[in-house]
Amino acid sequence: MSKLRPDPDQPLAIASASELMNPASRRSFVRMLLGGGTALLLPGVFVGCDDDDGGITGPDETPDPVTGISFDLRTDVGIFRMVHVLEQLESAFYTAVLSSSTFSSFTTEEREIFTDIRDVEIIHREFVAAALGSAAVPDIRGSINSTTLNSILGSKATIISTARMFENTGVAALNGAGKYLQDARNLLIAGKFVSVEARHAAALRDIAPPAGQDANKAFAGDDIVDANGLDVKLEAGAALGKVVGTNLVIAGTFASPAITNAPTATQGTASADFFPTNP
């Protein structure tokens, strides 16, 4: 049986609840059901459930993958839904970093930084979720590609470079989206977030500069601040592209196209992006 590409014509055998908790087979399970296939739940599944007081989707467990997330950027709500995706992925990533075996090799300083960032991203995630209410994006932890995640968690260098990508993408996305917001209160909130993300980004670049950057200047290096003294900036589609580019999100999580409606001319006009390959 291939876990990654289930054949809808063949029944999918799931022998135990622990196998159902494995993201790859759970995804197969969901795809099988979506595709009209048959899932064969062997008796052990139910035994396993009895042993698991949280149930299959208990509060501490990974939820099912979310598919087909799309964004209508014609409203502040739509723009903040994109922010919600970023904050969810960031907080899930940092949570995984802190519980990884690699984290024990971090210095005291690095541990303080990553703990602070995890804590703040959790606050951001829950704040945006509360603000969006019923418009919030579902919990996307189940859409995280565990193979990619485990690969990144294997070394401090890849953890920090991924963190730099996330934080700088966060800065760039908010810098690019601000002009489309229609309510000054929401712009103020975006401003409160973006400078915090910029502090993360500066600290991360300071402890581990991207290749070729002067260690004493990388916190705001010439790759990340242009000749006019302006920071990174991405339009929404490009920001989502950076998220997809990490391969941390499984295919199908976002709809195609993910942005169903771009901001209107009444909201604002797109401008040129500025973002290095390796922030």
Binding site: D116, V120, A135, A203, F274
Partner: protein
């Protein structure tokens, strides 16, 4: 009190409105201007884009945008001239000489950071000057001579920040305070620049946001330099965050016997009002417009935050997660002491 949506349009002079609206219609109809804007942006130069707009699209510049630009220009000059004096590159010998003692004690790594920061401040000065000029107004005539980096308002008696000229820890604290003031100032002005569908405001707002996050990078670096010199002071976070409010948020713990006037200044720099724009840096309640109504959310009492830790950890995280804004008046009150009070120059 509630902040109004798009306050600028509401308060705008009707004489400014008419041409603005008709120009906006022209933009919407997609005319030659948009391709010119695109060409300007393709050059990678926002001033070029600004130039196209200012000259060809707008007969007049919305008053709030110009006011915010002139305000930012003063702040950026203050920062730029401060770092130049610190580095010994000011055009005014007396400003260079004033910092000679402390300059000798700055580690080479911090000198490199200061140089990078000063380069950005100089770029911001030039960028904003160009924006003001292209928007059809005159650039305030500021030079290094217009500033008093002791915070003494140009008086013959040195001000409370004079120790920044002789003590490294004091210098770094002052630089951090200036950067954090800049972050808070830009954050407070963003709402004044929000005019949906107005291409000039789009460009200026986006540039302001991009300068704002650069100032935050600077502030984070300065906090990290200070923490490295005093690693046990956990009020200064290695992550560069602002934790708490007032003098505590400044992390002034490694300053021996700070003057009362400095404590008061730091209380103002990391303090704030009661909204709707300005709040204390330790504020955790924030107003959002959710598409239907304004909602106040307290970040300190959110669900699903147990992973952060105990109540203290959650409270700290809720404070660090939001940088707060200051109003223009609050910022002017903070920086006034650093500017020689010369009304003839049109200074605040």
């Amino acid at each position: 009190m509630e902040m109004q949506q798009k306050p600028l349009l509401d308060g705008m002079d009707p004489e400014l409105m008419a041409p603005l609206i008709s120009r906006r219609e022209a933009i919407r109809k997609g005319l030659s201007t948009s391709s010119m804007i695109a060409a300007g942006l393709a050059l990678g130069s926002a001033p070029v884009a600004l130039a196209v707009l200012a000259k060809d699209v707008y007969g007049q510049t919305p008053a709030d945008i110009l006011d915010a630009l002139r305000f930012a220009y003063v702040l950026e000059n203050l920062e730029n001239e401060f770092y130049k004096a610190v580095l010994g590159t000011s055009a005014v010998t007396a400003q260079n000489n004033a910092f000679a003692t402390v300059r000798a004690s700055i580690p080479a790594s911090a000198v490199a950071a200061f140089q990078q920061i000063q380069k950005h401040e100089a770029a911001h000065v030039a960028f904003i000057a160009q924006a003001i000029t292209l928007a059809g107004s005159s650039v305030p005539p500021l030079t290094a001579n217009d500033f008093d980096f002791t915070g003494g308002n140009g008086s013959s008696t040195p001000g409370p920040f004079v120790r920044a000229t002789t003590e490294l820890a004091f210098l770094l604290l002052t630089a951090q305070a200036l950067e954090d003031t800049g972050v808070r100032a830009y954050k407070g002005q963003a709402g004044r620049l929000l005019i949906n569908g107005d291409a000039l405001s789009d460009t200026v707002l986006e540039a302001a946001l991009r300068i704002h996050s650069v100032e935050a990078r600077h502030a984070a670096k300065l906090r990290r330099i200070r923490r490295a010199l005093n690693t046990s002071d956990t009020s200064l976070r290695f992550s560069g965050y602002v934790l708490g409010s007032g003098v505590a948020a400044a992390g002034a713990g490694n300053i021996a016997n700070p003057p009362q006037a400095v404590i008061e200044a730091l209380n103002a720099i990391y303090g704030g009002g009661s909204g709707p724009v300005s709040y204390n840096e330790s504020n955790t309640s924030h107003v959002v417009f959710n598409g239907t109504a304004a909602v106040t959310i307290n970040a300190a009492t959110l669900a699903n935050t147990d992973a952060i830790g105990n109540a203290t950890a959650r409270s700290n995280a809720a404070q660090m997660a939001f940088d707060e804004a200051l109003t223009k008046d609050e910022v002017i009150a903070i920086v006034r002491g650093f500017i020689k009070d010369d009304a003839a120059r049109g200074l605040p």
